[in-house]
Symmetry: C2
Subunit: 278 residues, 2 copies
């Protein structure tokens, strides 16, 4: 895929120093979920991350950088690439970057990208290692961290089930450290998930506090579907009932539970234990 | 240890509805590190967590609850216990709780506790399973999550090395989910750590991106000292050189690294693999 977002003609380079420029307000509005939904866009921050996303062919709409980093070789190369593919490049003041990102000390580079998700029926279990289904996840830092871990273990994707936090929100994207651009994301209602689940050919495993089987005792057969419940209440019974195996991660101390990003990571490293080598 | 903080005489119960009451300002100030350092106090939120801390004998100075939960059985029992041991109980309005905690929709119960840390020379390796040494950790959510995981695996304590984020800050305490009251915490300068390290009798293991040994290939001999570097740069060379073993957690995808709380958890579950059962 190319970094194309326009109709094939070259894009524009503009200089924006006025805080009142409508482009500033448009990008700033993307910190709100409703504006991300209305536009299908999201913001990622940081030169390495943005350049890496463009390199990987993720469609970029607007590339924003501080004027003072215009001379940076990777900035100018990336800007040229964006323009060549019909995107917009904005050279801005730091005050404009602060306003766009609602941050003091903002990154010197941000990108406005198109959201991409995979339809449920486009998930191909045949070539998959492990998909992670997350039901009702609420914390953006947890979701971003899980995407980062999914990338690190070579998972095939993350499926958001039911009402969840937005993976394209600023905090979630930041926590992915760039893995938002590498790990396929799908979404499904609980009903759609229930209808789809019987088509999964490999092991469907969930963690459950009332489970008695040790998570290390299961022979995980790829493609694995790892099903994790939300931070407050874990997997509800009807969804737990969809799993082939319910397992427990042992705990020794006084903690009641693990952080969701932690338990998902511990599970993923176990599921992929025989497949990963240094 | 008892929940005592006064000189043995019973404490007081006060009703506070004025936002101008100096007690409100004093507690609100504890959201800042300098005020926590000056007073040696910190704030924990939530009835279950606060009651659990008092039950465990952690010294409480002030127990604050919304008037509307006065009738709650655990609230009144906890309040009686605090007063009996010389602490202060504040019944407050929700507006006061909002101001104290700087939060909309605050918890209905908060506790002001004394900070407790263990001196470096009071760490007893003889009875230890694993201590986790964290060099320069910056993110409060990561630190709190690591304390929670340390609790869950039955670790013996967490040692903060060098300049780190404050474990008694609001976000860190919140992320511990109560484990701040269960896991011993120690602090050391880098110099003090270097001087102390040779006294450790078991395996000292660190993770390092340039390591070549698989983290699963090491025979971990308890007491283990797990040494983790900070989020930005990992272990510096001079500290890496203090480890008996440097190991790597394998990664398969395009992620450059794991979140620090995740890598620490994956290490801890491996270090304690033979010791934990469901
Ligand atoms: Co990347
Ligand atoms: Co507890």
């Amino acid at each position: 895929m190319s970094a194309q977002s326009g109709p094939g003609r070259p894009g524009l380079v503009k200089t924006v120093t006025s805080l009142a420029n409508p482009l500033v307000k448009d990008i700033r509005a993307l910190s709100q979920r409703k504006h991300r939904q209305a536009t299908g866009l999201f913001v990622a921050e940081g030169l390495k991350l943005v350049a890496d996303a463009i390199e990987a062919g993720w469609p970029i709409k607007t590339f924003v950088h501080a004027e003072k980093v215009s001379h940076h070789e990777l900035v100018s190369r990336t800007a040229a690439r964006v323009v060549a593919h019909g995107g917009l490049v904005l050279k801005v003041s730091e005050a404009v970057l602060e306003k766009m990102t609602r941050r003091d000390n903002p990154q010197m580079v941000i990108g406005v990208f198109e959201q991409k998700t995979v339809p449920l029926d486009a998930i191909d279990p045949a070539g998959a290692t492990v998909w992670i289904a997350l039901e009702g996840i609420k914390d953006p830092g947890n979701l971003g961290t899980i995407l980062r871990t999914a990338d690190a273990v070579g998972a095939s994707g993350v499926l958001l089930v039911g009402d969840t936090v937005d993976p394209f929100g600023t905090e979630a994207v930041r926590a992915t450290m760039g893995s938002i651009f590498h790990v396929p994301l799908a979404r499904a209602s609980i009903e759609a998930f229930k209808a789809w689940r019987p088509s999964w050919p490999g092991t469907v495993v969930g963690t459950h506090l009332s489970a008695t089987e040790d998570y290390r005792a299961v022979p995980y057969e790829e493609p694995v579907l790892l099903f994790m419940g939300n931070e407050q209440s874990g997997l509800p019974e009807d969804l737990a009932g969809l799993c082939d195996r319910l397992v427990k991660i042992p705990m020794a101390g006084k903690a009641d539970s693990l952080n969701l990003a932690v338990s998902t990571a511990v599970m993923l490293y176990e599921v992929r234990r025989g497949k990963l080598t240094v």
